[in-house]
Amino acid sequence: MTIADDPATTLPGYKWVGTRPIRPDGFDKVTGRARFGADLTLAGMLEGAVLRSPHAHARIVSIDTTKALALPGVKAIVTGADFPEPAGNPTDQDMCRNAMAREKVLYEGHVVAAVAATSKRIARKALDAIEVQYEVLPHVMTVDEAMAPGAVLLHDGMITKGMDPAPTEPSNVASRVVYQRGELDKGFADADVIVERTFTTKPVHQGYIEPHAAVADTTPDGRSTVWCSSQGHFAMRAYSAKVLGWDPSRLKVIPAEIGGGFGGKTTIYLEPLAVRLSQKAGRPVRMVMDRDEVFMATGPASASKVTIKMGANKAGEITAAELWMAYEAGAYPGSAIGAGSMTALAPYNIPHFIIEGFDVVVNKPRVYSYRAPGAPQSAFAVESVVDELAHKLGIDPIDFRLQNAVEEGMQAPYGPKYQKIGFKETLEAIKHHPHYSAPLGPNQGRGVAAGFWFNAGMNSSAVVHINEDGNATVVTGSPDIGGSRASMALMAAEELGIDYNRVRPVVADTEQVGFNDVTGGSRVTLATGAAVVDACRKVIADLRARAAKTWDVPVEQVEWVDGQAQHVDGSQPPLSLAAIAKGWARTGGPISAAATLNARGVGAGFSTQLVDVEVDPETGHTSVVRYTTAQDAGRAIHPSYVEGQLQGGVVQGIGWALNEEYIYNADGKMDNPSFLDYRIPVASDLPMIDAVIVEVPNPGHPYGVRGVGEVGIVPPLAAVANAVAAATHRRFTDLPLSPPRVLDGILNGTEES
């Protein structure tokens, strides 16, 4: 373990980075003050509700809102006719149709109309009074159904992209991607052992506890203020504007505190509806989803089908791999098949491989990002087969991975060469962890798996203001979903050389700070953090200039050390930040600096995980009894929140592995849209999650940061499945590993050694 165990320890050379202070927004969040998406009330505010398709696939013949509009208290209704014809690129157009159906509904829960009324109860009554005539169409629910010859089409003219030559007939396959290297035949000829299997996963939801919520106040000048909970209010502005056909600047989006996102709150659902309803009604409108709406109508992660064949020689080298992957996109193209394909073999240096991936539309909600989007599904297949190969070869599964692991300078399967990475370090950390050699009890099994995620950079802006008391305000536009304000303040305190508690980090609205991309891709500490560091360094340059002016010396003779200006030869008494701030009017006015960047220096993330499970051989019930994760964080700015990211990712992965799944009935309707039957892990399902922070600093970031939010969810699916395989001597290839499935495997599966 690293610094993690002693909160008082600081990293050599750093005063603040690597410490664990209380997060700045914490007090509001433990006292109930923090305002989340649904917590705003405005004078005269109406309540909205959404009419959703009861059918998985149907043509909308007509919508009659007359009776609904006549109900007392109903102030506005919008349908597809209230929005402009979708414009922009195909993805934009699909987003517009997903936000409000036009000709067809493509899944149960697809938006058909929305109502604003003086109470939620009246709004719901109005939904019942809207008369919609549907022509119900046959539906396709899985990649197998959707790819079958003669399958009913969701989109009449959809021609598969990425095929050579392009097909002449439309299909439900939106696109195909291919990654390959070497000569597959030769690779398999070199193998002494080959494993070939097909793996499937079901759709799973991000499961954030806060349902989507938005309040819009549209004024007669054609502008609107939207207050919503999201992972990126600039993206909400841009996407809402597209649906409305507006310039984005007509919208001001104010970020509420966000109650979890995990990728699912990087797009719009309610926002444009609220804006348009508010415009029609002339009053503010609040819209909050019910939990069943969250499940049925917001984007889960793709279900997947992955067929994999992998070979290795007796020396323990993986010689070849062949992957065929199909991911459900839901109603519109856009699954994470690309990332799923690129990450599948990313941890290993394999001379011969081909990965072929398909993005397939089905009559389910349009999938959206979920933590390392696309990677867990393919890693489940790859890491299961890697585990099986190791067993067949009689090689320790960690040694087998170490032997084939990628390192700096090796070519990634998706093309470029790896820069500085810490994969082997995470494998070594697990190998030498006491957990790896601890004894197992009866009916217990141990599993290992690894995972890779790119992490992201993208665009960020930050402004640092020095206040007249010498304290700093750090303004960014990146919603804080897991403690990033603390990280921003720590880096600013480190740069400026002042106490952490003298830095106030703020997440500002779209009119108060420059553009920031979404809080996603594990990018905020890296990219927005880099913008904060840049802005601090500009402020320091200014502070040195002010000191130089005060002392009447050239600025080159002024250094910034420990929060104060010092003359290089010590000939002047140091000037503190507070002292310079106090005299700012005499030296040129208030002190403030902005920085913007399209971030460079992204460092990839790797995680290796170890789990012990116990399987009840008579019921198939699986319990996780011990879990250890080792992840390369580059450098942990606030180790507690880094651990939290590691632990949270693991537990979401455990849920995916064991019990989470969308269950559909024969009519294409979701059977379990509640937290009762969509079973995310509860506290009593879990042990403590031992989080080992590995630090291989990322040379691309001023403090060595790598994104930490996502890669932790990549290994658990296979790690748990490998542990269940060890406990039961049966190989499981279909998730979730719910008790009925595991029992069926125990009773009817093939026993393996």
């Binding site: 006292t31 954030y208 937290f675 506290a683």
Partner: protein
């Protein structure tokens, strides 16, 4: 239908609010009393984000009809601190980074208070089962369980 006037004690204060008979206590607390620290995660009693103490017992306020609160004593997250003196659970959640997004935090704090009121010296397993009615999707529960155990220890020490 005429709205009904409910009199109750909320966080120590005599409080009245108007409701329709079918309203949930959750909605009334949020919309009529203004206590938006009480959160809705599911509306069906499955997530615990709306937990309050109703006459001293932890309850999902989404499963309570507002008229049932007439004459009741209610404690929400807003009532845990004593002025600006945080409850040990609140302190331990902050110190132990037991929250990420914070939406489930109010419900956890209220449920944990009820748990420790009934059992001042719980085991890890008792904390996990005692808080199984509160869902957290961010933390994996590790730091929450640790914070509750730490708060219990501090409270026991303070009471010695």
């Amino acid at each position: 239908m005429a709205r009904r006037l409910i009199n109750c004690v909320v966080n120590g204060d005599e409080t009245d609010f108007l409701c329709e008979d079918g309203d949930s206590l959750l909605d009334s607390l949020r919309n009529e009393v203004g206590l938006t620290g009480v959160k809705e995660g599911c509306g069906t009693g499955d997530c615990g984000a709306c937990s309050v103490l109703l006459n001293g017992r932890v309850t999902c306020s989404c499963l309570v009809f507002s008229p049932e609160a007439d004459g009741a004593t209610i404690t929400t997250v807003e009532g845990l601190a004593d002025g600006d003196h945080l409850h040990p659970l609140q302190e331990c959640f902050l110190e132990g980074a037991a929250l990420q997004c914070g939406i489930c935090t109010p419900g956890f704090l209220v449920a944990a208070k009820a748990l420790l009121d009934a059992n001042p010296n719980p085991t890890e397993s008792e904390v996990r089962y005692g808080l199984a009615g509160n869902l957290c999707r961010c933390t994996g529960y590790d730091k929450i369980v640790r914070a509750v155990l730490e708060a219990a220890a501090q409270m026991r020490e303070a009471n010695v």
